[in-house]
Symmetry: C2
């Protein structure tokens, strides 16, 4: 299992297939100096990505083979967003490369940093005339191509949206966007590109909480497909960016109902696709233990909230016909009444940094096993 | 637990906080007709999202209250991407709204469809002069504001990147981007916006496969942070867009090693943050059972591949110091040698459509429990 690295091996031609289908000839064609590689396009249809995650360690144990001046020094990834931080103490060797603007006729040096995978990240901060940007980009790409640079990224704040078209005209495609910026990407070598895919999943949580009177915490929502139908459901919500599942489940319950609770286990999860904007969804069924009992309903989202006898909850026609709710009830009742083990989290550290993450596993079984294990 | 619906309740001001910090006054300010609501900006710092997923049902059981002409007919979401398909047979009522271009002086009617949440989706397909687009957008927004339309989306193919700046100047922000298009969003009412968050997670898999000689399938990779270090690791990979976890694990093993395998269980998973581009990562540890044994190494990504005695694998110094690998070994050996139950998938159906998804749970415990359960 390789460490998280942005050096992928993607078997497809450098210009994404969908993009090449969409672009008019002027934009779809590689610059003249790169047209030799156009024969690779037929492989795009059988694209297979092999970007492999696994270990959470950064930075790399050793730099990748430098393929150009300054290559192999920075990785693209977690440090990328929030580019001002990149010139901080950890990246003093990089800082000098930022903000260097040498005017030379109609060409300015673009602010960029090298990444650890033989690529560069252009981080535009200040406005620039689109024509100057275009000329500067052309010059930079020509230089980087000679130097053997691989991936080129452009991070454009929304305030500099007028620079998108010049970048697209040079062959860049969109990689991802957040509210305040667009990230574009390009691949210089005459090889298949090895850039990582964009995020593919949204993560949701549902909370099963039962008090000692066998009442479950149930809500009716003001919006959504069950609006106005009188259906009682478990508190659910979407994980915030950067939030842990166990934290998100407790937060959602508190927000919707005012109930304090502690996380116990992930009892099950569901993966579904095309949930929104063609993206997928992972929904984690969480068992929580109540720490308070007085309900304070959130008025903006929640129509009603109560501690509801579990039999009454289960008897709803909606629950009877809905497989997901049926299974949530089954695993939850198995957990509180029988010997059902879900996954509980422990904090683990990366081998390479002090970064922590949560590892969810069947701890009951593992503890039993280790009691007599020879491993 | 509400069905997937794009009608969120997000407690924050309509202009995203990060965006308002970034934008120059001209862009950050709401249009004059909307400035009354600017006092809501202080709530943005304590933004809480409450977009609630859960049941996979579409379409809504009944349309949301229509707030404008044609409102309540389409949902934003899975059907959104690939807009040409929207005018297909399933959406004949919508088709008539597309492609209507009435020239009226310097203003054209923009091609749009209504969504099921009282909003509209502008789907630009053909080039338009940016000045005409700007005037047309202004006119459309004024009309929609009067009609009580809520969210407004603009889907812009990469070929129409010259229309991004006019949209941003009207107050639109970036919602997400894929290779070939950018989606912008805007919120018309004088309320906090209720638009869904972008995808937050990438999903990876690691495969533990052992043959009956207690040898595990192990690879050395040609790239990544372990490159050239002689470290043997489990096959890993990233889930493709729209791919099931169990399918992705089998695919990755086949691609890297040529070994056919069948999926058994998810033994554990890890959630980590800021894994790439500030996004989070869910990594699922999968137990697979080999169906073939002759290795055919993938040359482009894999340096070496072998069936390796598990003790030898575990003895690697790298494994010893890496908590994630240590736990993967622990749960996997507990599984093959002891009584460790992971999560196995069953196919479940939505209550609202025939759409299937996979529900992963501790089936061993559930089967035991249901044997004597009164539920």
């Amino acid at each position: 299992m390789a460490a998280h690295s942005l050096s992928l091996t993607i078997t497809r031609s450098r210009a994404p297939l969908a993009l090449r289908r969409l672009l008019p000839p002027r934009l779809a064609a590689a610059p003249a100096s790169r047209r030799l590689s156009s024969s690779s396009s037929s492989s795009a249809a059988t694209a297979t990505r092999a970007w492999r995650p696994g270990l959470a360690g950064y930075p790399p144990l050793r730099p990748r083979a430098a393929t150009g001046a300054g290559a192999g020094r920075r990785r693209i990834g977690s440090e990328l967003v929030g580019c001002r931080a990149m010139s901080g103490s950890e990246n003093s060797t990089v800082a000098a490369e930022l903000g260097v603007a040498e005017r030379s006729g109609n060409v300015e040096q673009l602010p960029f940093v090298n990444d650890k995978h033989g690529g560069v990240i252009i981080q535009m901060v200040s406005p620039m005339d689109p024509a100057v940007f275009s000329a500067s980009l052309k010059a930079a790409l020509a230089k980087w191509r000679e130097q053997g640079i691989r991936g080129v990224w452009i991070k454009l704040p929304i305030t500099l949206s007028n620079l998108i078209t010049p970048a697209v005209e040079e062959g860049f495609w969109y990689h991802h966007a957040e509210e305040t910026y667009l990230m574009l990407a390009y691949w210089l070598p005459n090889t298949t590109h090895t850039l990582p895919v964009n995020a593919t999943h949204r993560v949701g949580v549902g909370a099963f909480i039962m008090n000692d009177k066998r009442e479950v915490l149930a809500v009716q929502e003001k919006s959504g497909v069950l609006r106005g139908l009188g259906v009682w459901k478990f508190p659910t919500g979407v994980i915030e960016p950067g939030e842990d599942i166990n934290v998100g489940a407790v937060r959602e319950v508190k927000e919707e109902t005012g109930i304090d609770a502690e996380f116990v286990e992930v009892l099950a999860f569901r993966q579904s696709h095309k949930a929104f904007f063609d993206k997928s969804d992972l929904f984690f069924v969480c068992l929580l233990r109540p720490l308070s009992y007085d309900i304070t309903k959130q008025d903006s989202e929640i129509e009603a909230c109560q501690w509801m006898p579990v039999e009454e909850f289960a008897a709803q026609p909606f629950v009877q016909k809905h497989e997901l709710v049926k299974y949530i009830l089954e695993v939850s009742l198995a957990k509180v009444d029988k010997e059902y083990a879900g996954f509980s989290p422990i904090s683990i550290k990366s081998a390479f940094t002090d970064k922590l993450s949560l590892f969810y596993m069947n701890r009951r079984d593992l503890d039993k096993a280790s009691g007599s294990s020879s491993q």
